[in-house]
């Protein structure tokens, strides 16, 4: 493998039902940042059926070039034709870096493609940098420059590892959705568009889609929620949980609660966090009016970010909170909700 042949940052621009997924735009944004450091371009790979029209949107978010692989076999996502599309693009265009979203699709596609082209793949990255490998010079070992350093949590977030792929190309990563920043939309920006069809011949690896069932239930398991807005006895009344519902709606979270709230009959047991309830580990846990009995802490202290609002400054919840706010939830929460709405609106 002649590494020098491999140039450019490529991203897999995931689309579902001919709508560009948000992750595609995030990857273009991040890809652009990396491409600038390498003095190269960012190319989006757009695969699907009759998807060419989406190329402009990718351009508007920063793609310099779009490779369109358009084929009826790619209508609904299936591992094999998509893996074939992506692997063929790699073989033909030889990118230095290939980013794929760590979505359900990307995490299925990425490993199949990396295995086919024989390169490394780092899963679920939360941070990407260009740098040296080894990071610090090691006597007797060549230090390579301009390597992609891919950082990811492992062990359910207990550890952080930075991975490099010094001897194989492309350097492949799947990237966790919601972590990288999109670029501001630049209407009218144009990208070079290239159509490429490697040819699709169904074989044993093509599976048959018998049925597509779109989803699903609207009840959210609090154990799956990325953001939990959790209330305790301090919320005061079942009616007052409206404040939490609103906050959850604004930030895209789910409401949960402490045992006291369940015992008081304000909320169902399904929503209870703690030793006798569920153990949760969201990215963000708002503890609102929760004092933080040991039993409660046992069920949530592994959350990535804990934000506690409580008027009692000695409440034990502050011992585990990353950000503790001593104050009146009735005043803070509604204002916070409004502010988040404003921020979200500004972002879109």
């Amino acid at each position: 493998m002649n590494l020098e042949e491999y140039k450019g940052v490529f991203v897999f621009a995931q689309q579902v039902d001919n709508k560009v997924s948000s992750i595609a735009l995030e990857l273009i944004g991040e890809g652009k940042r990396l491409a600038e450091k390498l003095a190269t371009q960012v190319t989006a790979i757009l695969a699907g059926s009759e998807v060419k029209g989406l190329a402009d949107e990718l351009a508007a978010y920063g793609a310099d070039k779009v490779i369109v692989v358009d084929d009826p076999e790619l209508k609904e996502y299936r591992t094999e034709p998509y893996a074939h599309a992506l692997a063929s693009v790699i073989q033909k265009y030889k990118p230095e870096i290939l980013l794929v979203g760590a979505t359900a699709i990307g995490r299925d596609l990425g490993p199949r493609v990396s295995a086919r082209v024989h390169t490394g793949l780092t899963a679920d990255c939360t941070s990407l940098e260009i740098g040296d490998f080894p990071i610090n010079p090691v006597p007797g070992k060549e230090q390579k420059h301009n390597q992609l350093l891919m950082t990811r949590p492992a062990f359910g977030g207990n550890t952080i590892a930075t991975i490099a792929c010094p001897d194989f190309r492309p350097q492949m990563a799947t990237v966790r959705p919601g972590v990288m920043q999109k670029l501001p939309k630049n209407e009218g920006a144009k990208a070079e568009i290239e159509e490429f069809n490697p040819g699709f011949t169904p074989d044993n690896k093509y599976v048959e889609i018998v049925k597509v069932v779109k989803n699903l239930t609207d009840t959210v398991d609090i154990m799956d929620a990325k953001i939990l807005v959790s209330g305790g006895r301090g919320v005061g009344s079942p009616e007052n949980f409206k404040l939490l519902d609103d906050l959850a709606a604004a930030i895209g979270g789910t409401v949960s609660c402490s045992r006291a709230v369940v015992d008081a009959g304000w909320k169902s047991k399904e929503l209870q966090v703690g030793q006798t309830g569920k153990t949760v580990r969201p990215n963000v846990y708002f503890a609102i009016g929760i004092s933080g009995a040991i039993q409660h802490l046992a069920g949530m202290e592994e959350s990535d970010i804990i934000i506690a609002i409580n008027k009692d400054e000695t409440a034990p919840i502050f011992d585990v909170a990353d950000y503790g706010i001593v104050g009146d939830l009735n005043k803070i929460v509604p204002m916070l909700t409004e502010q988040i709405k404003a921020e979200m609106a500004a972002k879109n």
Binding site: F155, T162, A164, K211
Partner: protein, 260 residues
Amino acid sequence: MKVVVCVKQVPDTKGGVKFNPDGTLDRAAMLTIMNPDDKAGLEAALRLKDKYGAEVTVVTMGLPKAEEVLREALAMGADKGILVTDRVLGGADTWATSQTIAGAIRNLEYDLIITGRQAIDGDTAQVGPQISEHLGIPVISYAQNIEIEGDSVIVERQYDDRYHVLKAKMPCLITALAELNEPRYMTPGGIFDAYKAEITTWGRADLKDVDDSNLGLKGSPTQIARASDKVRKGQGEKVTLDPSESVAYIIDKLKTRHVI
């Protein structure tokens, strides 16, 4: 029908996480369990055994100690355990691991291979699909329901907002989600039988059609540049501010941490 289930012995993340000086995991120092997604895969296979009389062979790669997960699998009802262990296989990334396991499976007859979606230590979800690629068979990942129909397998495959019902001709590889089922418990008698059973141990020489350049640390395209224990969370900040300042404070933190 013959089913091969790949399982991994993983550190129980409820205990602490420990590292070797070179940044790789010190697996020997941690309590271990059968990886939860793999256990769901094993349960799926055992149900095929209950229903169709499938023969269930469990394969693991790891240190000699990984024999324990095979005993556990036997105690749950699996028929046969194969441990792939060799010094030269150590330090493997997902590429080298999948090459190793594919090399082992090439010695076996199979209609179905079931792996867990991902292991709780690495969280990569790569090894299953990569094995299928090396073996040239279809993969269906994130299975939430598995049925057999003639020479095909019908699987519900879960995505974010939908599921596909997929049909693939066997042989085929399926990756299982922990949500797929509620794995059965071992039985006490099964445990004692499992320790009487013979475990097959394979080393490098037993792997079929795999080049040395694809094995172990040397055969791993990815390399660890840096690894660390995530800084343990202690008490964070605590502020007493008026309500609007409090809100500004929270918004600032949410932005810094890329929540909004």
